[in-house]
Amino acid sequence: MREITYLEAIREAMSEQMRENPDVYIMGEDIGIYGGGFGVTRGMYEEFGGERVRNTPISEAAISGAAIGSAITGMRPIFELQFSDFITIALDNIVNQAGKIRYMYGGKAQIPLVMRTPSGSGTGAAAQHSQSLENITAHIPGLKVIQPATAYDAKGLLHSAIEDNNPVMFYEHKLCYKTSSDVPEGKYLIPIGVADIKREGTDISIVATGIMVHKALEAAEILAKDGINIEVVDPRTLVPLDKETIIKSVIKTGKAIIVTEAVKRSGFSAELASVIAESESFDFLDAPIIRLAGKEIPIPYQPELEKLAVPQVDDIVAAARNMMKKN
C-alpha cells in the first residue's frame, strides 16, 4: 500500500466522491485556484471547475445556510470553513437549522451536508485561529461529529460523511495535515460511530482525540521502556460515540486517562470521563480517571506558552507514571 498525507487523503475522498456523484460539490473561501487556506483542495478546481469547486465570498452565514438549502433540495454539499474558529459565524445555521430541521419537520427532510474545517493549535496562529471547538457541535442533537487522527481514518470517514444523509461536522487538525499513513487507493468506508484501538495494551487506557492520538502513541512508546503497557483508544467520531469500545478497554486495563486538546472545562473530555464513570467499567477502575485537556485560557501566540496551553507528550507520560506509582 502507498503512504499519503492526511491532507492528500481528504482531497482524495472528496475527489473520488465528486467523480462518482454529480450531486457532490464543495464550496468555501479561497478553495478555487488558491486551493484552500491549507491547500486541501489544491488541483480540484482544475479538475472539476468553478461550478463544483465554488469559491465563495467571505460570508460564513450565507455559505452555511446555502449548504443547508442546497442539501435539503437534493445536493450533497461539502463546505469548507477556513478555520474552525469561524464556526461561531456559521453556528446559527448549524445549530438552529441543520441540526433541527429534520426533527422539526417530522422527519420529512434530510440535510446531507459535510462541514470540513481545520482546527487546533500548534501553528502560532494565536487565539482566533487555533481553537478546538468540536464540543460545541457535539452538544447539538441532530449533528454528527467526526475528528480523524490519521490519513487512513480521514479518507474512510470522509467518504462515509459525504454519503451520510445527516449534517456531519468534520474536524481536521492542522498538525495532522502533514502526517501520513498507508491509505488504499479508491473508495473505502469507515463507519461513523466505531472507535479504533490504535495501540493495544494492558495497564492504562488512554482515550485520545484528534492530534492527541499521535501524542498518546508517542507517550506510549516512551512508557513502554518503563514497562508500562498503554492501550490507546481513538473514538474517531464524537457523535455518535462508540462507548462500548471505550468501556471494554477500561474494563481490561482498570485505568483511564483522557486526552483532548479542547479546553478542559465543559469539554469533550468531560463527556468521555462520564461515559466511563456511568458504565459498568466504573467498578473496574483502580484509580480516579485523569483528564488532560486544554488550559482554561485562549491559545497564546508565544510558542512556549502555546505549547503549555494544551497537553504535550511529556504531560501524558508524567500522568501515566504517576497513575502507576499510586497503585
Binding site: 452565514a61 419537520y105 417530522g106 446531507p112
Partner: protein, 329 residues
C-alpha cells in the same frame, strides 16, 4: 377563459377567484388560530398575518408547485398560498400526528417539501440563505425552479440578508427575496431601525433590482412577483421586492401594541384592507359578482371549519415519536 384584469402573469378570472378565496382562507385560518390561543386550546406562541393576505396570496399564485419557498415565523399565509392543505396545518398547531410536521414543529416550523415549502423559520432572517441554497440546487441541476424567500422588514438588518443577497447576485441564482414590510420588527418601527427610505434601496448594494410595491394591492403583488420570478427563471439572478403591508394583530400573542396608535390601526383596517380592496376591484372589473364573492368567502370559511374538525379528531402525536426523526438513515 376570461381575463377581466390585465396582469403580467396572464392569470384568468378563474385563477383570480381562487386567489380571492385564498386570501379569505388565510384570514379565517389566522382568526381561528387567534381564538384558539385565547381559549388556551393551542399552546406556544403564534404570529398572525391578518391584514397581510395579499402579499402571500399574490406571490404564491405565480409560483409553480415545483418552485421553492421559505416562510417566516408569520408563515401561515405563505404556506396556504403555496398550496398546503389547511387540515394538516391546523392539526400541526393542535400537536397532532396528522400535522404537516407530525406535531413536532408547531406554528413557526410548518413545512411541506412535497409542495415546495422548505419551511417556516423562527430565526429571523433564517430563510434567506436556505432559499439561496435551494436556488443553487436548481441552477446546478438545471431544474428551472425558482426559490422565493419570504422575510419581514426586521430581518433586513441581519447579516444573513446582506450575505445572501450578495451570494445570490454574484452567482446569478434564481431566487426572489420578498420582504413583507409591515413597518414594525416586533415593536421596533422600521424608520428607527434603518436610515434609508426604502428597504428595496438596499438592492443597489448587491447589483440587483429592487422594487417597493403596495403589498395590499393583489394585482401589484402578482405583477412584481411574476416579473421577478421570470427574471430568475431566465437565469438573470435575484430580485428584492419590498411589499408594504400591515399586520392588524400584535407581533405575537403577548403584544399590547403600545408602540402604535389606534388611529393608525383603524386607517389600515378601514381603508387599506387587502381583501376589501380586492373584492371591490374584482367586482368592478367583472372578475366575479357579489354573489360569487360571497360564495368564495363562504367556501374559505367552511374549509377552516373542516380543518378544525380534522385537527380535533386527529390523534395527538404519539409518545413513541419522541426519539424518531433526529437522524436520517
Amino acid at each position: 377563459m376570461t381575463q377581466s384584469i390585465e396582469n403580467h402573469a396572464g392569470l384568468d378570472d378563474e385563477k383570480l377567484q381562487e386567489i380571492y378565496q385564498t386570501m379569505w382562507t388565510i384570514r379565517y385560518f389566522d382568526e381561528k388560530v387567534d381564538q384558539f390561543f385565547a381559549k388556551g386550546m393551542i399552546h406556544g406562541t403564534t404570529h398572525l398575518a391578518v391584514g397581510q393576505e395579499a402579499s402571500a396570496a399574490g406571490s404564491g399564485a405565480v409560483l409553480k408547485k415545483t418552485d421553492w419557498i421559505t416562510a417566516t415565523h408569520r408563515g401561515h399565509g405563505h404556506t396556504i398560498a403555496k398550496g398546503t392543505d389547511v387540515k394538516p396545518m391546523m392539526a400541526e398547531l393542535f400537536g397532532r400526528q396528522t400535522g404537516t410536521n407530525k406535531g413536532k414543529g408547531g406554528s413557526m416550523h410548518i413545512a411541506e417539501l412535497a409542495n415546495g415549502n422548505l419551511g417556516a423559520n423562527a430565526i429571523v432572517g433564517g430563510g434567506y440563505a436556505i432559499a439561496t441554497g435551494a436556488a443553487l440546487t436548481s441552477k446546478m441541476r438545471n431544474e428551472g425552479k425558482v426559490a422565493l424567500a419570504y422575510a419581514g422588514d426586521g430581518s433586513t438588518n441581519e447579516g444573513s440578508f446582506h450575505e445572501s443577497l450578495n451570494l445570490a447576485s454574484i452567482w446569478d441564482l434564481p431566487v426572489v427575496f420578498f420582504i413583507e414590510n409591515n413597518f414594525y420588527g416586533m415593536s421596533g418601527p422600521v424608520v428607527e431601525m434603518m436610515n434609508i427610505p426604502h428597504i428595496s434601496d438596499r438592492a443597489a448594494s448587491y447589483g440587483i433590482p429592487g422594487i417597493t410595491i403596495n403589498g395590499n394591492d393583489i394585482i401589484e403583488v402578482i405583477n412584481a412577483t411574476y416579473d421577478a420570478v421570470e427574471r430568475a427563471r431566465r437565469g438573470e439572478g435575484p430580485t428584492l421586492i419590498e411589499a408594504l403591508t400591515y399586520r392588524w394583530k400584535g407581533h405575537s400573542k403577548s403584544d399590547a401594541k403600545k408602540y402604535r396608535t389606534k388611529e393608525e390601526e383603524k386607517e389600515w383596517k378601514t381603508n387599506k384592507d387587502p381583501i376589501k380592496l380586492a373584492r371591490k376591484r374584482f367586482i368592478d372589473a367583472g372578475v366575479f359578482t357579489e354573489e360569487k364573492a360571497d360564495e368564495l368567502q363562504n367556501s374559505a370559511r367552511l374549509s377552516i371549519e373542516e380543518a378544525v374538525k380534522f385537527a380535533e379528531e386527529s390523534p395527538i402525536t404519539d409518545i413513541s415519536e419522541l426519539y424518531t426523526d433526529v437522524y436520517s438513515d
